[in-house]
């Protein structure tokens, strides 16, 4: 055996320990960046499962009641036009967040970031006088004269109107409230309970199955990507030519794609082997309890009070 072992393996390499650490620099920052993002994603998943199983108010409520609460409140948020009513809802949701022992600052950070991009930035143009007529309260741009472009009339002064600002504010608060409500339910309900509750609401089996598998698959994929990048980090510390890097990264993408494809085939095979014929039978063992009824009553009262206000 010993003569089969290459001679270079039987001697130690001379590797002088660097006397002084060189200036801090990252040769391949994308590896660390990817790893950080993937780890954060996995951590978020774990945190969701942790917070949903902690002992807060909403965690004690049956998922079916929470889904009903979600649907009704989303409708109410979208029907109500007055800003004060939306603010009452925001206050109510904030108190639910606190009573459910959620990390309020973390959750509102996420909500505000998402609502800024998908609420404020998208809606911001509606505040301008070119979209919503009204009295300009803040001039942004001034032309020498009015212009006509195709079917559009561009006034000499472009600015934010009072009416436009009000429309944006209303819609933005609605986006914030809808997001808060969704996060509230997501963070206080285990994912499998949400799926089972949706089944009770007659959501098609295939749709639920796809959501469940996608959710699970994203986690498996995240773990695979993490392992892959760990392997890269271990053996790739020197900058290589762009063409070589492209080859390696492309190879990894192909690998992950093939892995996903194989996983899909295996999972489908496993489903067929266990008698899958297009219908999914989820078993809902939990019964509606007094706490659930109390919450349902509280939520109906809150709904009514806000509506009357």
């Amino acid at each position: 055996m010993k003569d089969q072992i290459p001679s270079f393996l039987l001697v130690s390499e001379t590797r002088p320990l660097p006397l002084k650490h060189q200036r801090i620099r990252q040769q391949l920052p994308f590896i660390d960046r990817t790893l950080r993002k993937v780890s954060l994603f996995i951590k978020t998943g774990y945190l969701q499962s942790e917070t949903s199983s902690s002992k807060g108010l909403l965690q004690k409520i049956d998922a079916r009641i929470k889904i009903l609460f979600l649907v009704c409140f989303i409708i109410q948020i979208n029907i109500l036009q007055q800003i004060p009513a939306q603010l009452y809802i925001a206050g109510f949701l904030l108190s639910l967040c606190i009573l459910s022992c959620l990390k309020v600052i973390d959750i509102y950070n996420k909500i505000l970031i998402l609502s800024f991009f998908f609420g404020f930035l998208v809606l911001a143009p509606a505040s301008l006088n070119v979209v919503t007529n009204g009295k300009i309260i803040l001039t942004i741009f001034h032309f020498q004269e009015t212009k006509q472009f195709w079917i559009y009339h561009i006034p000499a002064d472009i600015g934010i109107t009072k009416e436009g600002a009000l429309v944006v504010a209303k819609l933005y608060v609605k986006v914030v409230n809808s997001l808060t409500l969704t996060f509230l339910i997501l963070y206080t309900t285990p994912f499998n309970e949400i799926i089972k509750a949706l089944k009770v609401f007659k959501i098609p089996d295939m749709f639920l199955l796809i959501i469940t598998m996608t959710y699970k698959f994203i986690f498996i994929l995240a773990h695979t990507v993490q392992e892959t990048y760990f392997a890269l980090k271990l053996r790739w510390w020197k900058k290589v030519k762009n063409s070589e890097a492209d080859k390696i990264i492309a190879g990894r993408i192909v690998y992950i794609f093939r892995k996903s494809w194989n996983r899909y085939e295996e999972v489908y095979g496993a489903m067929i082997a266990r008698g899958f014929s297009g219908h999914v039978n989820f078993c809902y063992l939990r019964k509606i309890r007094t706490t659930d009824i109390c919450f349902l009553a509280l939520f109906l009262i809150a709904n009514l009070v806000i509506y009357l206000i």
Partner: protein, 269 residues
């Protein structure tokens, strides 16, 4: 012998409730074979990830040749190069480890990163392929290999770098009996040549063969005991408690009975 690796009260968790490693301390001497054993999910792989500087402890410290292994120290290009060259890590799942287009590229990658010239890298790759009996696979894409072939390529890709310390996660995974015997022999010879070998496994058979110093991780992610192979394998109560052995049913002709595994030092039948 000097300590090549030292862990002091290392704790790591994914979230505060998902503790992976709890207050682990041990040291590994240069040129020693060290085994981390424990049942599934006890944190063996996480511990190897921490040792190899892929993850960083939440509390406690890890040092390699008296140099702290932290996110900051590994940001230094010279130290990162030194550390990565000195410590080779073979993953449990070879699929994740292989990222080059072909087997040959995979074996060449490490030495070329180390700055070896092409001929030296090629000589190393050829010698390793011959030793691991994978020379017929050299132009094959790694995703077209069988599980055992992938494992051999993964081991080869680390060996071409000739690291001083070899970390191997579940060395026996996906290998046939002949390759297992070969790997055990290879590890013994590499150790005799002065390499430090750290393995993570739940195969007591491997521990029995390699006779390393052993650290037993409990299901609570803590070190239960550190000792010689003899001390650990003869502590039946410890092995049962840490789920490394359990009573099993089996047949002798028509007679069915149950007892603890009998092929280790504590042989009882």
């Amino acid at each position: 012998m000097d300590d090549i690796l030292k862990l002091d009260n290392v704790t790591y968790h994914y979230t505060p409730k998902h503790i992976a490693i709890s207050d682990v301390s041990f040291s590994v001497k240069q040129g020693e074979i060290f085994a981390i054993i424990g049942s599934n999910g006890c944190g063996k792989t996480t511990l190897l990830h921490l040792i190899s500087g892929l993850l960083f402890p939440y509390s406690g410290s890890i040092s390699f040749k008296n140099q702290a292994i932290t996110e900051q120290t590994l940001k230094s290009a010279s130290f990162n190069k030194y550390f990565r060259e000195s410590l080779g890590y073979v993953f449990q799942n070879p699929d994740s480890q292989l990222f080059c287009p072909t087997v040959l590229d995979e074996l060449l990658f490490g030495p070329l990163q180390m700055g070896k010239d092409k001929q030296t890298a090629l000589d190393r790759a050829n010698a390793i392929m011959e030793m691991l009996n994978i020379d017929c696979l050299k132009d094959r894409p790694t995703y077209m290999l069988s599980g055992g072939e992938k494992k051999r390529v993964a081991i080869g890709s680390v060996l071409t770098m000739n690291p001083d310390v070899l970390l191997i996660d579940e060395p026996m995974g996906a290998l046939d009996p002949k390759t297992r015997s070969f790997l055990i022999e290879l590890l013994i010879h590499l150790n005799k040549a002065g390499k430090t070998i750290i393995i993570a496994t739940h195969h007591l058979e491997l521990v029995d063969h390699l006779q390393p110093r052993v650290a037993v991780l409990s299901e609570h992610h803590k070190i239960e005991k550190i000792g010689t192979t003899q001390e650990i394998l003869s502590d039946i109560e410890l092995l049962v408690r840490t789920n490394l052995i359990s009573e099993h049913w089996h047949k002798h002709g028509d007679k069915v009975h149950k007892h603890l595994p009998s092929n280790f030092l504590f042989h009882k039948h």
